[in-house]
Subunit: 255 residues, 2 copies
Amino acid sequence: MPIHHDDPATLRQACRTGAFDRSTAGHAPGRIQANLAILPQADAFDFLLFCQRNPQACPLVEVLAAGAREALAAPGSDIATDLPGYRVYRDGQLAEERTDVAALWRTDLVAFLIGCSFSFESALQDAGIALRHLQLGRNVAMYRTDVACTPAGRFAGEMVVSMRPIRSRDVARVVEICARFPNAHGVPVHVGNPQALGIADLARPDYGDAVEILADEVPVFWGCGVTAQWVAQRSAVPLCITHAPGKMFVTDLKG
Amino acid sequence: MPIHHDDPATLRQACRTGAFDRSTAGHAPGRIQANLAILPQADAFDFLLFCQRNPQACPLVEVLAAGAREALAAPGSDIATDLPGYRVYRDGQLAEERTDVAALWRTDLVAFLIGCSFSFESALQDAGIALRHLQLGRNVAMYRTDVACTPAGRFAGEMVVSMRPIRSRDVARVVEICARFPNAHGVPVHVGNPQALGIADLARPDYGDAVEILADEVPVFWGCGVTAQWVAQRSAVPLCITHAPGKMFVTDLKG
């Protein structure tokens, strides 16, 4: 049986030594997990501005100083080794997947920690609202929309959203709960009509896995941190390092 | 009798021609007004990060691209001419006060619009909560605290707060209303005890005018946009241009 880690520092240490290399979903319950994007200083102002202008897709949990590897939100951490997996994009193309990026580190790299939906998903489950993808052990369904983000410098692109089927009678309560998590995408960006976002077919997500929508449910859409990766990729920055899917940076912060 | 401007574009135009050179308080009711800080691109990443790390003092309404003078929040505007007055700091010292800064403009300048308390003050008054400094026609009382902001690069310093006396029975309602305005400092940073913030004497504010606190009132403290100016000044950046006190940038945004 795989080891389960409740303590965020222990989990990060296990990532560092290579003992843990799976998804962080469900580990360190109650702690804020974050999407990672690392860019050279030359692109950091525009990327920070992009995040600031698009907070529902890219809520900033923390931005580290240039060259810094220890997050304030995780004392003792090393951003270059403490995730279970990394992806390296060069000129917008996926170049390699690695278990650490210490060998690629440079003093001009800036790490961005972007909020992730794990925080509000726990709160929804605690409130008795079932989430189908978790029940089925799948990744959440994600779609590229035709909604343009507010651009900043070289960074521009469409918002990526995640979708969860919610029973009609629970929609208002779901919005109320998610409003407490502005650093984890906050309230939904849209309720009910995939066509309004330019999504042609919910059965064919661009990332993650599709789930069924039952007769008494509506599809509810949230801004998704994958937007940051998509936009960095689309704008073909020379270098962008991200987490591998599902392999988040686990902070000490309580959600 | 002085002209009163309800329309934000008309007010900005009057600033541009020099026809309006007074405080913007009470003009263009319901529109978001903003503190201004303009810095060279070389310092812009660190300053943007400082604001992002200290959102109660420095909530970002908008950051313009390097060299840009037209704010998205105010189509047709010119950030270099459309405020009633500007202050120019060089190496941390006040160098001059001007009615426009078009002659100083450079393509590497980045303008930051930082939320201002005028938005939540209107909402409090609409809810029947009297604000003494407005009744007396004074500036709000502001104090430098001993609370350190989270630093970012060269930018570090203590938080500046504004203080308003609030009747005990209204404090919870005031917090509830202000929570709706995260871009205008949001909820108070402290209620009740000036000593806890390192404020020795409420009768001697560092900026603005003192007001009396009555027996059934408590002093309530909010993060203040003057923090940005204080920190830019204290860190002795080569150039920082700000609005002159009370002479804000009036956007088209509704609060």
